[in-house]
């Protein structure tokens, strides 16, 4: 294989990896902070993608405009869902184990609800639109313009989230809650404000990911579930609650998948990622990068 082909292969892995990382960061925020294993996370990505597609095809709005819009809309949806479901669940569950199991069930219900609502509204067909399809040349390698843009924006958002968590006081509060919920509450961190905000932020990020995905790939109501599973794999790779780990894990998984598919067979992709998932969970349940 020539140098150019190698670059293309690795870059295509990194591009899908960037999306994986963005979805996984949102899920990680929800699981690491609140112990809500939101199995419906990918469905909200699909909602973001459909919103972008609908606005683009019916009003001709530029897809980039939809990035902040879908973030805000999905974050508002997240706040509403937290207020309606998880607030009561936190208040009524006797302990964290029970809360986790019940939260998982609620998330399954949300998955059925959202996925079928979308396929009821817009039908089950594959949809898509053309955006920045001209190839861009770097040295000996060729890339699609939209995919490069998607990668750059995904990295930008993931980086912004990590920097926010590192530098701001709110971020400090979030990290403290992840480290020790009881201790953080003792020093006056308000979980009643932080929990809904972070749930909303997680959904907002998945909305952005969906918006970006719709620029480069076709979309369908069933597209969310594989991304949920991949996000789960990524956060187990990176370690539950570790943000830098999720970013690195996402990029790594993208590259591993791209190389694995090149050498074996594209129909092995799902098999490959599930095998990685189960292997990591059984052998290193605390994540690849844990000490």
């Amino acid at each position: 294989m020539s140098f150019g082909a190698w670059t293309e292969l690795i870059a295509s892995g990194l591009i899908t990896g960037g999306i994986y990382a963005l979805v996984a960061l949102g899920l990680n925020l929800q699981y690491g902070l609140m112990r809500i294993l939101n199995i419906a996370h990918g469905e909200f990505l699909m909602v973001g993608a459909y919103l972008t597609w609908m606005v683009q095809t019916s009003f001709g709005l530029h897809p980039l405009v939809m990035v902040p819009v879908s973030f805000v809309l999905l974050a508002a949806l997240g706040l509403a869902i937290h207020w309606l479901c998880f607030r009561r669940l936190t208040a009524t569950s006797p302990n964290l184990d029970v809360f986790e199991a019940r939260g998982l069930m609620v998330a399954f219900g949300l998955m059925f609800l959202v996925q079928n609502a979308v396929s009821w509204l817009w039908g089950g067909d594959l949809r898509g639109y053309d955006f920045l399809t001209d190839p861009v040349k770097f040295g000996g390698a060729q890339f699609a313009g939209n995919k490069l843009l998607v990668f750059a924006l995904a990295l930008l958002f993931a980086g912004a989230l990590i920097v926010l968590l590192r530098l701001t006081l709110y971020g400090k509060g979030v990290r403290a809650l992840m480290q020790s919920p009881v201790g953080a509450q003792l020093v006056g961190i308000d979980t009643k404000r932080l929990h809904p905000a972070m749930f909303g932020l997680g959904l907002g990020l998945s909305g952005v990911a969906g918006c970006l995905l719709s620029m480069a790939y076709t979309i369908s109501p069933a597209m969310g579930e594989p991304y949920t599973v991949t996000a789960l794999i990524v956060i187990t790779l990176g370690g539950f609650g570790s943000m830098g780990g999720a970013l690195a894990g996402g990029l790594l998984l993208g590259v591993v998948e791209a190389i694995g598919m090149h050498y074996t067979n594209p129909s092995l992709k799902a098999l490959l990622s599930y095998a990685v998932f189960i292997g990591v969970l059984l052998l290193r349940p605390k994540g690849l990068f844990s000490k």
Partner: protein
């Protein structure tokens, strides 16, 4: 009622229901019989799921894996061996897979266990899809040797009755008490001398045996199977939903909910499949939020409790909206300043 009277009551109810189900195809139409078959399938699946996962609180999502393994076994061997041995073989292979899977994942609890069993189900499904595509060169299989409709119905009925009878009996054995003990507090059960590893593996294998047998018996109903239909995660989800919505700790809850749900599914799915699934999702959320013990935990005071909560919420809101809270805050401030 004493424990013995309860046992007799349960067995009598089961006997009556089984007799009714036995007579159903004789006077009902063909559609009714096929509806009853679906009901029986979910009765067997959710009763056997609740038997292990309900009492020990290990949330397994692997039912569709065992179902699919049973279905594939049935499809592969049915043209070579007789009907009942084929079903027994399906159950046996599902048990073998459950023992291997259980050895790997049964030391994990809670969400880890749920997610891992789901992941393994998907792994098995993708592995079989890949194997079919690359080794045998087909996507699905056509079943050429199919027993009579009556035989299939009787077999599934037998499995369902056996599943309910097993859960009646297991509840009163040491094994059932050990499972309940694991569900209440695993460490304490261990301290009291329960071999939790063995009990969990045996319980998981028991669930798998029923799911495998049902899968093997149901595969002939479709006459054409592919991994996507028989390993459909939806079969597993619906089983779990039925057991959880009805109350997985009760004996008759899963049975009643299985009948209600399959009737709903068969009637609504044809006309508006998305609406049915949306309703299912909404029902699941509502039942987890407001009826964590399941439908079977409804008593006369449940509605009264909701009514009391609602009234308390209303009077609190009315106090806030009419300015009561703001007044209290102001007075508190004035008192502090004074």
């Amino acid at each position: 009622m004493t424990s013995r009277q309860l046992l007799i009551r349960d067995l009598l109810v089961l006997f009556g229901l089984a007799g009714w189900a036995l007579a159903l195809p004789a006077y009902g139409s063909e559609f009714v019989a096929s509806l009853a078959l679906t009901c029986l399938m979910y009765v067997a699946l959710s009763s056997s799921w609740a038997l292990f996962c309900g009492t020990s609180r290990y949330l397994s999502l692997a039912t569709s894996a065992f179902f699919g393994i049973g279905a594939y076994t049935g499809a592969l061997v049915l043209d070579r061996i007789a009907w009942l041995p084929a079903i027994a073989l399906g159950a046996a292979i599902a048990v073998a897979v459950a023992v291997v899977m259980g050895a790997a994942v049964l030391h994990l609890r809670g969400t880890y266990f749920a997610v891992l069993t789901f992941g393994m189900t998907e792994l098995i499904r993708h592995a079989i899809t890949y194997w079919e595509k690359s080794v045998t060169g087909t996507v699905g299989r056509v079943l050429s040797v199919v027993p009579e409709r009556q035989t299939v119905y009787l077999t599934v009925l037998g499995i369902a009755v056996l599943a309910v009878a097993t859960s009646i009996v297991v509840r009163r054995t040491r094994f059932g008490l050990a499972l309940a003990g694991i569900g209440a507090d695993e460490q304490r059960a261990q301290t009291l001398g329960v071999d939790t590893r063995w009990v969990k593996t045996a319980g998981f294998a028991l669930t798998a045996a029923f799911a495998g047998a049902v899968g093997a018996a149901m595969s002939v109903r479709w006459t054409y199977i592919d991994p996507h239909t028989v390993f459909n995660p939806f079969i597993g989800f619906q089983t779990v939903l039925i057991a959880l919505i009805s109350g997985a700790l009760t004996l008759w809850g899963p049975l009643i909910a299985a009948i209600v749900f399959s009737l709903l599914a068969e009637t609504l799915r044809l006309q508006a499949p998305q609406v049915y699934l949306m309703a299912l999702g909404l029902l699941l959320i509502l039942s987890v939020l407001y009826l964590p013990g399941g439908l079977a935990s409804i008593r006369t005071d449940t509605a009264t409790g909701w009514w009391r909560d609602l009234r308390a919420l209303y009077s609190e809101k009315r106090y806030a909206w009419s300015g009561g809270k703001a007044r209290d805050k102001r007075r508190e401030k004035e008192r502090r300043l004074a």
